[in-house]
Amino acid sequence: MQEVEQLGEEYQRSILDRISDSFIEFLVSIISAVRKGWREKNRSRIAEWKLMFYALNRSPPGVIGLFLVTIFVFLGIFGPYFAPYKYNYFPIFDNGDTYLSPPGQFFLLGADHFGRDLVSLLLQGARTSLVISVIVILMGVPLGILLGLVAGYFGGKIDELIMRVTDMFLAFPPLILAIAFAAVLPERISYLINNYIYLQQILLWLFALDAREAGNLSRLLAVMIAMAIVWWPGYARITRGSTLTERESLYVESAKAIGLSSAKIMAKHILPNIIGPILVYVTLDFGSVVLTEAGLSFLGLGATPPIADWGRIVYDGSQFFPKAWWLIIFPGAIVLFDVLGWNLLGDSLRDVLDPKLRRSIEFKVKRKKPKEERR
C-alpha cells in the first residue's frame, strides 16, 4: 500500500493531473464529510484513483474523450438554461420569415419549421439525451448486475432460470425490441403519469419541461423503459460471468466458512471486486445508449414536438431535406461527437485498467530517474 503512494511521488504532474487531483480531492472531501475517517482508511485507493487519472491524462484519445464527455454532461445539465430561446417559443407566429430560415439569417444555426432557433433546440436536446441515457443506465445496469450476481452466485436452478430469461431477451435484435416496447407502452403507462403527480413533476423537472408537456411524458418514459428492457440482459451476462470466477476464489470460500450471509458476501465481497470492469463497460456502453435513443426518436418514438430531441429534430427536418440540410447535419454531428466522446473515454479507460497496457502507459508517465542511482 505504501508503495503505491511512493510511486505517486515519482510522477511529474501536468496541469491536467493537477485538475484531476483536485477533482478527486473534492470527491474525497465530500465522502469524508459524510463518513468520518474514510480518507484515512482509503489512502491507497485514493492514490490508485489519482494514478488512474495520470495514466488517462497521458493518452490523447482519453483526454479528448474526457473533454467531450465533460462538455456534453455539462450541456446536459445546464444547456436548457443557456438556451437563447425556450424550446416552446415559436417565432414563426411573430415572424413568418423564420420558417426554415437558413443558418445566419435569423439564428446562428438556422431554424426549424416552427422558426425555432436550432441552437436552443440542440441545448435543450442535450438535456433530453442525457436524462434518458442516464435513466436507462440506472434502470438497466443495476437490474442486470443484480440478476447476474444472483445467477452466478447461487448457480443451479436459479442460474438456469435467470439465464434462460436473459437469453430470451437476447434473442431479439436490440433496436427492434426497443421499438416494439416503445410502441406499445405509452398508453399503458400514461395512467401512471397522470395518477402519480410526483412522478410527473420529477420527470418535468428532469427534462426541464413546462407543465403543459405533461401529456407527452408517457412517450418519453416508454422509451426509457423499453431501452432498459433491452439493456439489462447484457449486464446480467457479464456479471454472471465474473461472479462465477469470483465465487471460486479463496476469499469467498473463507467468507462462507465464517458464516456470512449470501447477501452480505455478494454485496460486500463479490460486487466490489467485479464492479470496476463493469463500470468501464458502462462508459463504453453509454455511447450506444445515446445512439440508440437518437435512433428511436429519429423513428418517431419517444419525444414529440415541441420537446426538443436530437433524433427528433432530424426526423422532423428530414421532410424538408435537402433544402433544410442544417436540421440534419448539425444534430447528427452533435450525436456523433457525444457518442465519440464516450467511446474514446471508454476505450482509454479500458486500456488504463488493463494491467499490461497500464504498465506501458505508466512508464511514459514516470519521471525517468537517473540510472546511476540504482548501481
Binding site: 506501458s360 512508464f363 511514459k364 540510472k371 540504482r374 548501481r375
Partner: protein, 326 residues
C-alpha cells in the same frame, strides 16, 4: 560417448529486446561449443536468458527482440554454415529438419484446431519428406508409435484437447524427431508436466537420442534433470555464461559462487549436503545490469574488481571454463 567433433559453435551471441521500458539485454556475448552426440545442458534461473539463447540459434527471436551480434557455426559433413547469416527462407529449411525444438508447454505448443496427425504430418510435409499431408498422416502413426503413444492409429485423428499433458509432449517430441534432426533442442521439456510423467518424457528423449544419434541441447532449471541427462553443462546468470564444464566437474568442483549457490539451493544428487540455502537477493534488472560482474551484488566474495570489470570466461582446467575474478 562425447565426441570431439564440434557440431555447433556459438560465438559472442548477444540478443537485446527493445521494450518501452528500455533495452533489455537478455543475453550478452554468450559463447559455447556443442559436440556431436553429446547432451549439452544450459542451466539457470528463470529469466537468465537460456531460452533466448536456444531460440537465437535459429533466429527464432521475435520483435521487439533482435540478435545484435554473434555467430552460430553449424558443422555438417565438413561444411560450416553461420546460421545467423542465413535468410528467412534458408534458415526455415534448417528448423525442424536439422535442428528441431521441443518447447516447455505442450499445452500451447500444438495448434488446437488441427488433429495431431495433421500436425506431425505438417512437419514432414513442409520439409518435403512426404508429398501430401495425407501421406504424412500415415507416417505420423509410425512416429507416434516410436514416441510410445498408446494406440497411435486412433490417436492421429485426435485433437490436442483430447490428450493429456504427457501425451501432448510425446506428440511434440514426435514432431521434433519426425525429420530425424541432427540437433534436438529441448527447452524445459518437463517443466509443465506432472512429476510422474517427467521421468517418462526424459527417458523418451534419451531413447530418441540414442536411436537417432542426435545431439541434444537441454535447457532446464532443474539440477536433478541435469545430473540425469547432461554430459556437459553451461550455467547462465543474468544473460551470461558464468561456468561451463562437464557434468561431474560442475557438481563436484564448482568454482563460480553462483554455481555453488545454485547447488546449495537444490538437493544435489551427487554430493550430500546438510541443508538447502537460498541465494540472497534477486536476479538483477537486465535493463540496467550491475556493472562489472553481474553477480556481484549477490556475491559474498565480491571485491572492488568485481564491481568494475566484467570477468571473461576463462579455461581454468581442461574443459572447465569460469567467468570469475575470484
Amino acid at each position: 560417448m562425447i565426441g570431439t567433433e564440434k557440431i555447433l559453435e556459438v560465438k559472442d551471441l548477444t540478443v537485446h529486446f527493445y521494450t518501452y521500458a528500455g533495452v533489455v539485454k537478455a543475453i550478452e556475448k554468450v559463447s559455447f561449443d556443442v559436440y556431436k552426440g553429446e547432451t549439452f545442458a544450459l542451466v539457470g534461473e528463470t529469466g537468465c536468458g537460456k531460452s533466448v539463447t536456444a531460440r537465437a540459434l535459429t533466429q527464432l527471436i521475435e520483435s521487439p527482440g533482435r540478435i545484435v551480434e554473434g555467430e552460430v557455426y553449424y558443422h555438417r559433413d565438413g561444411e560450416t554454415i553461420d546460421l545467423l547469416k542465413l535468410g528467412e527462407e534458408e534458415i526455415r529449411e534448417y528448423r525442424g529438419k536439422e535442428i528441431a525444438y521441443i518447447f516447455q508447454d505442450p499445452q500451447s505448443s500444438l495448434d488446437p484446431l488441427y488433429s495431431i496427425g495433421y500436425q506431425v504430418s505438417e512437419a514432414l510435409f513442409v520439409h518435403k519428406m512426404v508429398k501430401s499431408i495425407k501421406e504424412g498422416v500415415k507416417r505420423a502413426v509410425d512416429i507416434l508409435r516410436t514416441v510410445l503413444m498408446p494406440d497411435p492409429e486412433k490417436r492421429v485423428s485426435n485433437y490436442p484437447h483430447e490428450l493429456s499433458g504427457g501425451m501432448k509432449q510425446r506428440v511434440t517430441i514426435g514432431i521434433g524427431i519426425a525429420n530425424n534432426p541432427r540437433i534436438l533442442i529441448a527447452d524445459e521439456p518437463t517443466t509443465a508436466l506432472d512429476v510422474t510423467v517427467q521421468a517418462q518424457i526424459l527417458n523418451l528423449i534419451k531413447e530418441m537420442k540414442e536411436r537417432y544419434g542426435a545431439t541434444v541441447l537441454l535447457i532446464t532449471h532443474d539440477m536433478g534433470v541435469v545430473a540425469d541427462m547432461a554430459d556437459r553443462v553451461a550455467v547462465m546468470y543474468a544473460g551470461k555464461i558464468v561456468e561451463l564444464a562437464d557434468v561431474f566437474t560442475i557438481f563436484k568442483k564448482p568454482i563460480h559462487p553462483y554455481t555453488r549457490g545454485l547447488l546449495k539451493a537444490v538437493p544435489n544428487p551427487l554430493v550430500k549436503i546438510e541443508r538447502l540455502e537460498a541465494i540472497p537477493g534477486t536476479v538483477p534488472s537486465l535493463i540496467n545490469p550491475p556493472s562489472g560482474c553481474r553477480f556481484n551484488p549477490r556475491c559474498n566474495q565480491a571485491t572492488e574488481i568485481c564491481r568494475s570489470k566484467v570477468p571473461e570466461l576463462e579455461e581454468v582446467e581442461d574443459g572447465h571454463f569460469v567467468a570469475c575474478h575470484g
